[in-house]
Amino acid sequence: MSGHPSTYEPKYAPTKWLDQRLPIVRMGADFMTYPSPRNLNYWYTFGGILTMLLASQIITGIILAMHYVPHVDMAFESVQRIRRDVPFGWLIQPMHAVGASMFFLAVYVHMFRGLYYGSYKAPREVLWIIGCLIYLIMMATGFLGYTLPWGQMSFWGATVITGFFGAVPVVGESLQQWLLGGYAVDNATLNRFFALHYLLPFVIAGLVGLHVWALHHVGQNNPIGITEKTKKDTLSFHPYYTVKDGFAMVIFMLIFAFFVFYQPDALGHADNYIEADALKTPPHIVPEWYFLPFYAILRAVPDKLAGILLMLGAIIVLFVLPWLDTSKVRSNRFRPVARKFFWIFVFFCFILGWCGAETPDDMVFTVGERMVDGEMKPMGLNFTWLSRIATFYYFAYFLAILPILGMVEKPLDRPDSITKAVLGDKAHGAAE
């Protein structure tokens, strides 16, 4: 799996025997001794954190599936039963629900890390694209899973999202009804969503395998974006990064545990404690927080189809990013101008999230009032326009700023090697 010479030596007859037939122990040993750049910082621990979260979600998910009933008459009740009667259900159910939020939190950090340090650039394009695929399937899994408790937000979220497919010209309505298995979200929908929600995490796990394979094939990027040259530039994955990842995981678990034990509902919506009602829409339908930026992009456009295309485009643009960024320098550490645009990009992603949570016509700020059709209306910026500005920047960053900057920006001087960057003048004395 990895691209470094194997140092594993089977010591005993049985391990030698196995190694000749299935070198699985060798694979694990090589994984543990994989030479990693010595300068990886804590932003590089999120890959490990995400693996832990995927495992946690799959385990708690399988457990919940043992108790959950995917039927419109019993789904809501079965979740209540899990929380009230199933041994430790009160712990496992919030672990899974909060776990979804934690998963997205970690994946966003992981993605911004990749953006900042240029981890998508050659030769890591395929690694990046697999990552984008994982993210896309995560979004699908998160959405499908949110339908299962069969609360009001589950039901109306499913109605709205499947409505996206109805916007496809000509075949939209048949496509939507095919997805739903009926005229509206109903038992058939719930059953297939459950089946797919159970399936997709294993697809993600498979893609994670490919992701790690690609990572070990081309080697890890690092904060200075300079490929390791000598053995001195690297450290064995174990124990150096196992202990560092382990520490970061435990710190992340503290945040996770805080939500599970003390604020299990803080990241959800009160409306999802109301059983789904096909006759009544809640006054404010809002997706889960991790979808809010895309929801804002969707609503930034007054046209249904155009809004959906733009939202899809916001994800597709990530797939082609390796070819949009024309700079040869990977890390933003050496790109003073690009760095500023990057932080503006992060800022606007937060702004999009904020816009997604607010009502479009509400005002961000007002500057006086004016007469419109004989009525005084507040003047200023409303959330629709704020989301338009942010959406514009989101696309401009990928489609204009990164392509042009690569050609015009003058990067800072870069060190020759990781060791030089780490040790500076001490390069000859300090390392033992």
Partner: protein, 274 residues
Amino acid sequence: MTLNMKTALIAGSVVLVAAASTLAYAAGGGGTGDYKMEHKHWHFKGAFGTYDTAAAQRGYQVYREVCASCHQLKHLSFRHLGDKGAPFYDKNYPNPNDNPYVKNFAADWSIEDIDGETGDILERPGVPADKFPAIYPNEAAARAGNGGGLPPDLSVIVAARNGGADYIYNLLVAYNAKKPADIELTPGLYYNPVMDGGKISMAPPLSDELVEYADGTPATVEQMAADVTEFLAWSSDPKLEQRKATGLMAMLYLSILAILLWFSYKRVWKDVEH
């Protein structure tokens, strides 16, 4: 530069959390007219908060004698009242089915069942394993009996409303607020500033001395509202005490493990510049 990135991300998260909490708070505020939501200090708030057992017990009485004429608790069984962390838990009866309070409460309700001999539908007294029965035979009957309004199930009502316990409490005590002139009420609707739009189909359910508390607590509207809210908060989140207790252990454990890992990390990396 790393510092730069950290600061920015931390600042970003702070902004996001602040925005989310104002949003949640604003949504929880509700209210029309001049009514000011009263934010009570609930016994179950905070990292170590537990349910006020006496209040929750009185709250069950209010539910039984007042709310239960229209509102069901469909996700609850009688036995839940005697579970650990529940209002009528008694450590002498680890199995709530044996708890005499629970048995009495269950027997106080009549449960529809089928006569094993004749197949006729009959009514029998409840047992702890029974679920709280439906108040109305079906939704149409519930609406017909309440001027078209559907009394919501109360099992998870505190979790199902923005503002939680404060919302329920204020809803129950806010009927006396002065109605703004621009709200027009059709027959069967009442003014309640806590409801979205200020209109509610539930008639004011509480009045002073409506129930008689066994422990001698004066049954004011505010007292009954607070008590029944305490009870309903438990009903929405019956494992809260267990969760917080486990949470304390989990947080302590993770902190210790984090410290140990930190020292291990320092050891492993002590000779490596990075």
